[in-house]
Symmetry: D2
Amino acid sequence: MPPKKLQVGAAGLGRMGKRHALNFLNRAPRSQLVAAFSPDPEEIQWAKQHLEPYGVTLYTKYEDMIQHPGLQAVVIGTATSVHAEEAIKAMEKNLHVLCEKPLSINLDICNEVVAAAKQRPHLKVMCGFSRRFDESYRAAYRKVENGLIGRPSVLRSQTCDKHDPSGFYVEYASWSGGVFVDMAVHDIDLTLWFFGSDVVPKSISAYGITAVTPDLKKYNDFDNAVGIVEFHNGKIAYYYCSRMMAHGQEDVTEIIGTEGKLSVNLNPQSDLVNYYHAGGITREVPPHYWGRFEQAFVKETNEFVDSCLDDTPLPMKLSNAVKAVQIGAWLQESLVSGKQLRFDETGRRIEAAKI
Amino acid sequence: MPPKKLQVGAAGLGRMGKRHALNFLNRAPRSQLVAAFSPDPEEIQWAKQHLEPYGVTLYTKYEDMIQHPGLQAVVIGTATSVHAEEAIKAMEKNLHVLCEKPLSINLDICNEVVAAAKQRPHLKVMCGFSRRFDESYRAAYRKVENGLIGRPSVLRSQTCDKHDPSGFYVEYASWSGGVFVDMAVHDIDLTLWFFGSDVVPKSISAYGITAVTPDLKKYNDFDNAVGIVEFHNGKIAYYYCSRMMAHGQEDVTEIIGTEGKLSVNLNPQSDLVNYYHAGGITREVPPHYWGRFEQAFVKETNEFVDSCLDDTPLPMKLSNAVKAVQIGAWLQESLVSGKQLRFDETGRRIEAAKI
Amino acid sequence: MPPKKLQVGAAGLGRMGKRHALNFLNRAPRSQLVAAFSPDPEEIQWAKQHLEPYGVTLYTKYEDMIQHPGLQAVVIGTATSVHAEEAIKAMEKNLHVLCEKPLSINLDICNEVVAAAKQRPHLKVMCGFSRRFDESYRAAYRKVENGLIGRPSVLRSQTCDKHDPSGFYVEYASWSGGVFVDMAVHDIDLTLWFFGSDVVPKSISAYGITAVTPDLKKYNDFDNAVGIVEFHNGKIAYYYCSRMMAHGQEDVTEIIGTEGKLSVNLNPQSDLVNYYHAGGITREVPPHYWGRFEQAFVKETNEFVDSCLDDTPLPMKLSNAVKAVQIGAWLQESLVSGKQLRFDETGRRIEAAKI
Amino acid sequence: MPPKKLQVGAAGLGRMGKRHALNFLNRAPRSQLVAAFSPDPEEIQWAKQHLEPYGVTLYTKYEDMIQHPGLQAVVIGTATSVHAEEAIKAMEKNLHVLCEKPLSINLDICNEVVAAAKQRPHLKVMCGFSRRFDESYRAAYRKVENGLIGRPSVLRSQTCDKHDPSGFYVEYASWSGGVFVDMAVHDIDLTLWFFGSDVVPKSISAYGITAVTPDLKKYNDFDNAVGIVEFHNGKIAYYYCSRMMAHGQEDVTEIIGTEGKLSVNLNPQSDLVNYYHAGGITREVPPHYWGRFEQAFVKETNEFVDSCLDDTPLPMKLSNAVKAVQIGAWLQESLVSGKQLRFDETGRRIEAAKI
């Protein structure tokens, strides 16, 4: 009798939903994708072709899917606005949850998910931040753990997307939470990882411009933004997010310690090819984050499955996801207001008037 | 009813055999590993733990395994000396064959396999050269196809292993065929790919030293060797193979054309991390070929499965494997004798006496 | 009769003074170093050996040196505190002036120098910022001029020194003006070059830590600092300065435009050597700025000489030096106070109370 | 009284001659260029403008120049065919000699120069190989001396020129000695440096093609050539020279030792700029060797001057220049004949018939 495989349902079959579903179906040997849900007819059509033939039952209602017989876990890749609600419903059905980030761009809602999870400690509830599963970041982290750079003190991190001239990101800005919530949240998560999740912001400042997409202004968003988070324990993180790159995705991190430094992806590359031509030597760059992080998502899938089946700790805490979104929201607030935010040592906000 | 999956048996569960078995089991969604064979009790023990629980029937006789009910294909990862025999036996049972390189270090035996395959054109018989499935080499090849470097004219390629001080490679040399057959065969295969498999050698010269493993001399082998193959159509390939690298695996290829050049893996790396320390900036290098080519083997597995199930052409011809071994053997002959070999335009050997 | 050479006197023979003197003596074919001044006996001793034998008259009083017969120009490499005074005195003697940066860390004094120079438009008065003379920055600038990156919009620049554990930089901080005036002034100058010297700051924010040199606090300075300057024309510059690098000098700049990006020295290097060893592949880094910018100083010297002899425009305006110091001082003020500074569109400071 | 400067005359004012003259005039503080010779009216015209105003006496006869009063040394940058004769004549006038490589492409003539120099041991006679003066090669050499790579065992070196479509190199081939004498001689010189100048070739093999300049065949030359030199002490060097590069000058060397490896210029670059654009990230490459080695020539000049003035040993032995040309000529012979050359342990040629 073969070992039991984790019975998984996939909620949402959009761009990331499809990828999660296929990862659980094909690239996580200890999982079995048994159900999938989408309210979207086109996505269901896709699923009839790519999932159903492999024994996946399709649903057009989330509530139906989570009652699929024998279901043990769901992976949530639907629109951000329903992440939290679906996660809580799944927990109520005693299902493990892997939720695409963010839980919500509303912090109260984020906290509701965390509270619900706390009540069911036997369930594995994770909001995946892909970079935690990337081999390069992990190699960097091991070096930090081994003391190779002394005490990490300054962190520089950027999430820079290839420019998409279609205008897609204008409407997207109306509900994404803004660049610091949508993009820099990864860089903030890395900060919580490398500096420790107990760091307390002391001040937050951010500035932005709309260099190539002026329409972003109507949603109070920016196509380039820079922010600094000063922490109470003598550490500083600074971030750059941009949707203006001509060359492709360029997500770079530097962890600067008292005795050394680590850089991750300082020289982005699609592959190991250099092309020598009359104009010089050229290296191509992945156009999207998938080209950079595909294997990280596979690993995320597998580690989540392992944790559910073996009842071992998840590789990252759910509360981290809330804290990252919180800091992202503060950066965004500073970005939009142009004002510095300040916090006392307990992390409580100090009102500007009191400064 | 789910789509039919290719029913595969894995022969040999040594270092590479294990990897092939696990790839077919876990990373090839359209295949089902149903059987595995090893004559070795330790390997069977491993299989009881890692394969049997997932529905894989274990065999200690190859002849038994290939009679497994419903079996459609075998992947052969046994010792080189039995590759050919097992491949032929599998074909006689009407099974598709994916055989680890080389088919044999004996060319007559190689040709027997090719002849056997020709008699059964409905069978997919492939001897995998992993680099053909590597994304970087494929990206380079597409650039060549698109004319970006003009006419490929000179190819430099090296296969350099991290030094293994254990002495393992001494005994290994007694049956490996020598460095040009064992290592450079990949570089030769790349040559046949980038120059076209119809190139005809004009002359072959090779030289070697035993810098760190003098015991290799007793098997007429070398730990560093350099060779040049001059082709009749005005192209040159030159190779370097070494088992002396301090830093790790370093497999580099340059394809030099009349209007540009491509390099593959000129700057080897384990990951995207740079470590900045008092001695400078350091990038680590994978210690073994698996660190460089793991994903290529996964792709090889999947493309073989696709070809079997869809009856589409294999990504590389079986005869290529013979030609690569043939050129490797000539290089090795030149290396051992210290003499240049010469060939006429039909590829026939010109005896030294006739020069 | 040989063409007339510019008759130059060198003021100050400390670390940088020596270098300037030797550049004018040996590496500027159109100049003749005829005089040198230092109040320091040890420096005079050095000069007796390295300058006097080549026809350089030595002085221990600045006022005496600038009366040297036939003198046409001075290069000022004394302590920062006397730069301005000496520059003005030289102008009063009708001498061209090349002054080491900064003119002063006091802005009023800076402006006095500029005013004095305006009154003598026939004199060439330059405060050298070495990076303007560096081939790589110039190559980057040409690309910007040629429109290769569209409109420069975001500039990231860092000046990072190798950690000096001697404690030297503690006392140094008592008079250097602080890290943003002493170090980031170069990055600010680059900003004025790449964005145009007419940019007007809108807000300035900076934060710092003392990670390895806590004693810096007594002089209100930091060993790591990050700052953002937001400009009124929709551009942003952000800076990092550090004296904590384990690996060496690492001065990096990225100029990010609407259609492309340029990086300068993203991968610092002492030379073109890579060392492959059991720990990976290592590239060394220059320990000091001289290893990075030596040739830039030579070019600065020669271009200053050309401008004096040919009465052609200087490669950079004197007023730029004041503006760079001004912005540096504001960054430093923000760094020390932890508060954001704001400016109206005319560049006038908006008091915090008015926000 | 200023220290005495070396009184130098420059012979030949062609491309390299001009550069040598200007280096002695402007960039070698301890030398004084007092005389220059060229038989070419255009070159004399150039010299009237660039040298004469600085006190350089011009000559149209070499014999006249070497009688210039007080002359102490000559730098010979004339056509290769007269190098040797001029060097010998200079020695006869008791002048130190810095001669552009090669002394001659005829080995007997080379040896005459060496013999003449041996008779006048008080004279400094050097045939400059620029790479010996390059900081990167020197840094690599120091690492070898410090034992960082164990025992150097394999050397790969290439001299690759940007393709010049003008046809210039066809006629040039009629007298250059061929690619191995003209180009690879630098790589051979590096071999003699890193392996020791006492290495004895055991066999030499070389092959070439004419991929872009078929007319080279009429002078028995090639636009791409690969060669291997096997040495009697268990070392191997292999070379690639090409005049077909699309991207620029690419002179790369790897020194592979028993415990590590060094690469020099594996990633060629014009400067420290990377350009990020829609096609990827591009680094430019110097179009010519001058862009790579300019500073090395300056250092060569200065070290030669130091040696003459201080009577210290030259940085490289004259006999080395002969040996490098000898090996280059053998490679060229092998290249043209397509045959392997063999040598006994004393370095004596073994005739093919005896094999």
